[in-house]
Symmetry: C2
Subunit: 423 residues, 2 copies
């Protein structure tokens, strides 16, 4: 078989598995998930052996210590993986919900019913955890998955996917509900992107290069995450102690996250006070401040090497680091305008004690999540209470913002009649 | 300006208009729609003059009478177009709905709120009515639209779009909320498909060639309609008088529609009775029956030239004509299997008096709309009570089946806090 034939064969098998998966009850699926968790633990020796081979190859290829740490599995991390699977089993199942129910004047009874999507393709890089995280969320919602992970973690991925599939099968789930493509040719991505007869949607998880490739080739809907250029506006009416705490959290709690703040806008009326009360805390954390002219004139008084001049690109950049672009604005309108034109519509925030100002901001800023007096780091399925997330979408269709279990479903219309026809 | 620059300029203007549109109240948008309807009537002389030029060109190019009829506008059709716009003004506005509202243990208050999508691209062919239909549904839901119609109706489209834009502006809507690309170069489609910075989604309405082009090039989400291979299964427990009425309606009421039935499956136990009680009515309407071997042996007794042998392709074909593929099956399971593998998951139906059989069918057939004892022609926004539809989606993400006003919206999360941060 050629690679394409092999992947198409996966497609056919996944499609058949999806037909079985969508008929299963929540109890059957949850039993399958618990069996998967058990099998991850039972397969510890082979998963860790496979992972050791990946790590060895990574060392030989000179990958950084941080990259190797992301790759590394050990008994504790495997136990956490299994626990994560068990937690998903405990979440409510959205499938089968009657979203709406009504009867037409002609007696036709209509239900809009939540059902699984079908077969979901997941294309991801490096971390082997994604294999379990993504496959299990799809199985929970009655979908089949075709996974294609990165070459660094291929041996680990194969071992984890095999354990999940075997565990599910022990509890009566179709073994083909979780399939991992065991080769890492780039060609595999292109083949997956083109087989819209087998994949109902595709979720790329990784860097911009990967997402760009998928967007260019995919014939089926793609749910993706581009930039997280998150902007926080500190109004003239802000509580500056709160502003400090929120900005420290939004910038420093995990700078590499997509929902970390990248630009702070400060109203001119409080710029001086902001410089003396908030900026020292950021500098103390090692945050470099890239300032526009007016912000620089305030911040330079702090005499820190971390205070530098911004260039125009800095206000359109996702730093993912201890770097914050800083700009003084003269009005709420200017802050909104900047956010709409420079941000990525991901997670934006206003800090103010003025409710009418806040409501205008919340209404006019068109982002997936808009905050009043809270850290943009809260954009996460667990924090917003969707229970779990397979990613955060920067698209507007189907899933916007954190993508939880509900976003792994679609709906169908079920119509019960007594001979109704079109007039 | 090059064509690409010109279309990008449209993109920028539409984006700015969308920012205004999404802040308007339902009353403001409805006033805009009513003013658009008035302006269509006021602009009757120039719209009809433009249309006459399109018709003249169509005649010179030798278009068929049916095509010319689709193109033709007259005072009565324009009045109907204006009435259609007024009806949309009367529908409830889905924008602003609070889909969900909850408070987290940490006091963070979260709302999932329905908002407009933004800028929607509509690429369509021939009929000038689509210009008004599509633009008005988008405006109703607070979106801006960039329209790109077919070359046959370009003069009519330009005149109609200008009237809509002018009418809306008279009532305070931004003039750029409805923009029509006044050139018909194929290149325009490609430019639109690539400008994901300006278009949040694209809806192609037309033949397979157009849809294929858009799917191949689009970087933004596409909501599309491929095949309508709709299948009706007549069970052994069917009321055959009802089966006859439903099939006559589903096949003959408008054979060119995507929701017309293309294949009928008949349980073997009633095949003979079906042949004598239902088939004569279909033959009388001039429906050609393309029969598998067993169906042929039943239907051939009717001695009609319209009874012919089917080939395998007939069971995968959207005839859009007075043609029906016919096959005998031995079980409900076989009917479901055939429907799942040969149909297009659009609008499928079981006719039976046996409720348990019906419920199994409704659960196992994974189509946008599944019917028990009703005509698949009912798959339409107006009939299902979505009020209006911009099309019928054969995708599973965002919109599935009839795409109404709600499907022209997305949502955002609005989070109100008191200093909450991520732990």
């Amino acid at each position: 078989m050629t690679l394409a034939e092999q992947i198409h064969d996966f497609g056919r098998r996944a499609r058949a598995a999806a037909r079985i998966m969508r008929q299963l009850s929540a109890e059957q699926k949850n039993a399958g998930l618990l069996a998967m968790a058990d099998e991850i633990i039972a397969a510890e020796p082979e998963i860790l052996a496979a992972n050791a081979r990946d790590v060895e190859k990574a060392r030989a290829n000179g990958l950084s210590a941080a990259m190797i740490d992301r790759l590394l599995l050990n008994p504790k991390r495997l136990a956490a993986m299994a626990d994560g699977v068990r937690q998903v089993a405990g979440l409510p199942d959205p499938v089968g919900e009657i979203i709406r129910d009504w009867t037409r004047p002609n007696g036709l009874h209509i239900q809009k019913k939540r059902v699984p999507i079908g077969v979901i393709g997941i294309i991801y890089e490096s971390r082997p955890n994604v294999t379990a995280d993504a496959a299990v969320l799809c199985a929970k919602t009655g979908n089949a998955t075709i996974l294609r992970g990165g070459s660094e973690s291929i041996e680990s991925n194969v071992a984890i996917a095999a354990a999940l599939s075997r565990g599910g099968a022990k509890a009566g789930l179709p073994a083909d509900a979780i399939l991992l493509i065991p080769v890492t040719d780039r060609e595999a991505v292109r083949v997956m992107c083109e087989m819209d007869q087998f994949l109902d949607c595709i979720v790329p998880r990784g860097g911009k290069g990967l997402i760009e490739t998928v967007v260019r080739h995919a014939r089926m809907p793609v749910i993706k995450h581009y930039d997280g250029i998150c902007i926080t506006y500190v109004s003239a009416s802000a509580d500056l102690a709160m502003a400090r705490d929120i900005l420290i959290n939004a910038k420093c709690q995990r700078p590499s996250a997509c929902n970390a703040v990248e630009t702070v806008l400060i109203h001119a009326a409080i710029a001086e006070k902001f410089a003396t009360t908030v900026l020292p805390a950021l500098l103390e954390k090692g945050v470099q401040l890239r300032c526009d002219e007016r912000a620089f004139s305030q911040a330079s008084s702090l005499n820190s090497q971390l205070v530098v001049h911004a260039n125009a690109d800095d206000f359109r950049t996702e730093f993912l680091d201890y770097v914050l672009a800083m700009k003084i604005v003269d009005s709420l309108g200017e802050a909104i305008e900047h956010t709409e034109t420079h941000g990525s519509h991901h997670s934006d925030c206003i800090i103010t004690e003025d409710a009418s100002e806040a409501e205008r901001y919340l209404a006019e800023v068109d982002s997936a999540t808009v905050y009043w007096n809270a850290s943009s780091r809260l954009t996460h399925g667990g924090e917003i209470c969707l229970g779990a997330e397979i990613g955060i979408s920067t698209d507007k269709l189907h899933a916007r913002g954190p993508m939880g279990l509900e976003e792994l479903t679609t709906y169908k219309y079920v119509l019960r009649g007594t001979g109704q026809v079109r007039g």
